[in-house]
Homo-oligomer: 460 residues x 3
Amino acid sequence: MAWNTNLRWRLPLTCLLLQVAMVVLFGVFVRYDPDADAHWMEEKGPGNLSSDLDNEFYYRYPSFQDVHVMIFVGFGFLMTFLQRYGYSSVGFNFLLAAFGIQWALLMQGWFHSFHDGYIFVGVENLINADFCVGSVCVAFGAILGKVSPVQLLIMTLFQVTLFSVNEFILLSLLGVKDAGGSMTIHTFGAYFGLTVTWTLYRPNLYQSKEREGPVYQSDLFAMIGTLFLWMYWPSFNSAVSNHGDAQHRAAINTYCSLAACVLTAVAMSSALQKKGKLDMVHIQNATLAGGVAVGTAAEMMLMPYGSLIVGFICGIVSTLGFVYLTPFLKSHLRIQDTCGIHNLHGIPGIIGGIVGAVTAACATSDIYGEEGLVRAFDFKGSKKNWSPSMQGCFQAAGIFVSLAMALVGGLIVGSILKIPIWGQPADENCFEDAIYWEVPEEHKETALHPEDSTLKPSEP
Amino acid sequence: MAWNTNLRWRLPLTCLLLQVAMVVLFGVFVRYDPDADAHWMEEKGPGNLSSDLDNEFYYRYPSFQDVHVMIFVGFGFLMTFLQRYGYSSVGFNFLLAAFGIQWALLMQGWFHSFHDGYIFVGVENLINADFCVGSVCVAFGAILGKVSPVQLLIMTLFQVTLFSVNEFILLSLLGVKDAGGSMTIHTFGAYFGLTVTWTLYRPNLYQSKEREGPVYQSDLFAMIGTLFLWMYWPSFNSAVSNHGDAQHRAAINTYCSLAACVLTAVAMSSALQKKGKLDMVHIQNATLAGGVAVGTAAEMMLMPYGSLIVGFICGIVSTLGFVYLTPFLKSHLRIQDTCGIHNLHGIPGIIGGIVGAVTAACATSDIYGEEGLVRAFDFKGSKKNWSPSMQGCFQAAGIFVSLAMALVGGLIVGSILKIPIWGQPADENCFEDAIYWEVPEEHKETALHPEDSTLKPSEP
Amino acid sequence: MAWNTNLRWRLPLTCLLLQVAMVVLFGVFVRYDPDADAHWMEEKGPGNLSSDLDNEFYYRYPSFQDVHVMIFVGFGFLMTFLQRYGYSSVGFNFLLAAFGIQWALLMQGWFHSFHDGYIFVGVENLINADFCVGSVCVAFGAILGKVSPVQLLIMTLFQVTLFSVNEFILLSLLGVKDAGGSMTIHTFGAYFGLTVTWTLYRPNLYQSKEREGPVYQSDLFAMIGTLFLWMYWPSFNSAVSNHGDAQHRAAINTYCSLAACVLTAVAMSSALQKKGKLDMVHIQNATLAGGVAVGTAAEMMLMPYGSLIVGFICGIVSTLGFVYLTPFLKSHLRIQDTCGIHNLHGIPGIIGGIVGAVTAACATSDIYGEEGLVRAFDFKGSKKNWSPSMQGCFQAAGIFVSLAMALVGGLIVGSILKIPIWGQPADENCFEDAIYWEVPEEHKETALHPEDSTLKPSEP
């Protein structure tokens, strides 16, 4: 089937329409948080002893920048492993994230920072917007190479919306703690993406098979993504935790979990290949599973050895997933998961949710201190009479809610994306930059199969 | 014309001479800022209640490191898009910036941190030195591939000097606010660079034409530069703003402007190509214009939607510039602008200056608070009786001063660089690493044209 | 000699064994530092006026992340310059560092953070663990391409242990100051690595000669490593300094030294090549020597011009080392130093130790202030009666202790690594990813020499 992949009107119109909508909505709704408003100094009052440093900016900004790097360089370059899809991996990720953060500021703002008709935006909102987009980047991994940028923008529009609803249900209605987003970001993002790719199943994708692997250099570019994700993950999991010990602890736990994960991922990668050779796919992906899986519990008193155990298990499970599960999903369940997000975000996300639920249920005032327990789980206001085990139950409920939202949402959004008007590539043109990008002459020559002549008639 | 490009004596002598001069001048003039001096604790006094954190270091250091990455990795890799000029792009940028920051510490120090015969250097000076060098990196973009490292060092020497004079006129004499440097860094840097490249016009540059484009991998390297510039730009525009709300606000505004800019740049890139394909040049460059254009106003109460509008416009204008203006400048005005800095720094810089002037002129004590207005625009001391509209006029004057300094300075420096003794490459050897670098054998084979035999005689 | 390089059982077992040991030891020993413990708020007490910011996390975390990037991206990519060893450079560095930081947390913890049977871990411990691993990354540079990942893990196990002992002797027994680790990290790491590579001497390494150089793209990847090391080095040298002025000063001094170093390295690189062309090896490495050489003295009152002088000298010495010393060591002393760590870490490390000793010996209460002198050198407790010159002597002693530990330790560890059971590559298969990694088809074709058939029989 020769689809029309010329985006000359569709992509510009989509971008401009969305951006105009953002301008209007920001104009109506978005104002500065008091900490970012010029009235700040006056509001602090003359009797205030603390220094200028007592501005949320100084607690969160370094973490924000690390998270920002993860979203744009981390996810963007992680996906450049495909030999002829580097422009699209980095470029489309850039595009969808740039749109997504704006829309997330609004959606999350309406749910969490809406007062007197206005959304008040500060550095914590920027972090949360990046987080929300993180879940879209995860889902992008499943459909990488098989969709057009227009489809990605539409998916982002819907996924950010659903993410915000799900996040609101978990954090505000169920009282769940999920600072690093094992459930809200990873579980939701992964199963949403997997459902979308299931809906968009391409029976003839084998026609693009020879481009679905890496070349030597593309694997090195992907390692840039892997390492920036790995290094900055402690910032990711601690970025919106409570000030002080919680942020500190979240960073330590994530550091430990990730370190352990590398060793077991390497071990399994070597053990599962008959000559004992390592596979870059595992090194690029499974080494990160430990960060996903301590997302919920990182700020809790998981203990450093607890983090090591979580990382230990996830490195193994994730690598096994790449070797056995991904091929199975593809051949038996019609789930074509380009980047193997099920192994990096799906299973580890669920593990993370479970670890969080168990850690919360086991919390005692011995471990946290009386005041510490209240601080850690917000046992005040409407949660005043909650016990840790109750918290644990609600945490567990959060996993199921996230899964349900992901599956239902993915089905709906997948169906919308399936409509053949968004400029998606034909099965024999997947994983190919030349469809949507001007590529250098030297690259163009080998760009399309001889049989790609099918592509040309489709272009007016 | 076969120029002698052997730099064996010229480059080492230039480097050593400049570096010896730096050592001597630092010895005579440069001392630690009180916050970096071992007497610091004593000077704080025993009655001081605030913690160790009340050291400028903790307000500025994270931003400084982000800016540092932008100068060395951001600008360095952004310019690696040329297929055979990666060593030079990264390496010469490294060289000129390493010299430039030292000279800038001195020049800016004499103008702004000079007390009792000494320049007192702290983290804010490091940021400002990086800023100053940023304007040299901008200018480098116009002449990329057509100059020798000796020429670059000489240009840096003069440009840093002129930058500091211009900055002094704007900030100290005219009382202009320009925290993110739309005028001092981008407008000045861009028009300086354009004037230099105009002076160095090469009528036979077409002889190097086939090397003036990217290959597939070089475009991916360039995206590393783009993304680090894009991600850290909020730090750039907020790095030297007032503590607290101003820094906070500058980061938010820049974040918003850049996000909007990506969508409109993508829209225009697709709309202007007849098959609707995206052009990496636009993605690499035009997406950054939004950061340039909120440089002046970022710390003001521009409002998030104001930032979106600025980004919206600049994404469009910048992409249009790449498609229509750069070829026009080249063919009709003899301005050979290798990286298209006119579209990324020139026009957006001027827009930024105008946005800053208008935003300042519209400031009221309603929006800023009485005290906030004074803090934001320094309406005290010699500026005690200034009104916002007066501030706006002076802001506007700053644009013209920067332009004048850039044009006159560029003309003079360009004429100096034109003297044929600095080892510049011949027209047919531009955009080629092998002139100044030892390159791997495999690369050398294809390095020079057959007709490059002209090069060899010129080497003794 | 055809060794068996199939690691199918050896690598997984080594990884899993080490990781299980880490889990058990962490379970027995490692707990959270009070600043990262949920009891933190209560322990601060209600009368405490300071804000949440007074948590060690906010003093150190941004520096920690910068150091983290240096270890994983900096060292990892710096070593990707080899044309066919990119996977291993980045991947093995990732593996050894992930193990090393865990083991370092324990070893350094027992020596420095051990109270009541527990190691209390906070952000400073994370930085120190990264530092310790830095010395292993340095040593890795000497044996790059000639060892198996199993050997690297074993070396890491021993080197981290020895590092911690040496560090304890220097910092705790001798009272030496070495915040940036000129002695503990660089001198120790370099001479340890050189001794190991001397022990592992390969007389027939010339058989792998054609792979021991870069290709064009691999040199650009290496520049990513170089630049992140260079840019973040001010954070490295200041990360564990005293709060306030010492951290501030360390960053400034390192910034200055590194800048000067770039100019003299470029000067020498050009001067020593007969056509005056620059050599990427020098730009990638010698430009960093200035950071190594101010490691000890950066937090002292070295003065900015003092830093420039140190950088000036090291840029020259290091480049000379690459041109003359490395070939000499290889041909006459049987020291095969793949990355030239002797020039980047060895000599500059010793220079750094000397500079530190001299700077300490010259300290006066005029320069530091009475209180400042005590703070800077810990002249209290057991060091109460020390004079600066005494401090200088002990600093000098630290150099010799580090050298002795490195040589003896390297000899022992080298002998262990020489046992031919660790899956090391044959002389004709060095510098080749395909031995330990699955590589893309296109790359495999040219992977092994024709004569590499010797490799296959060795695999069962």
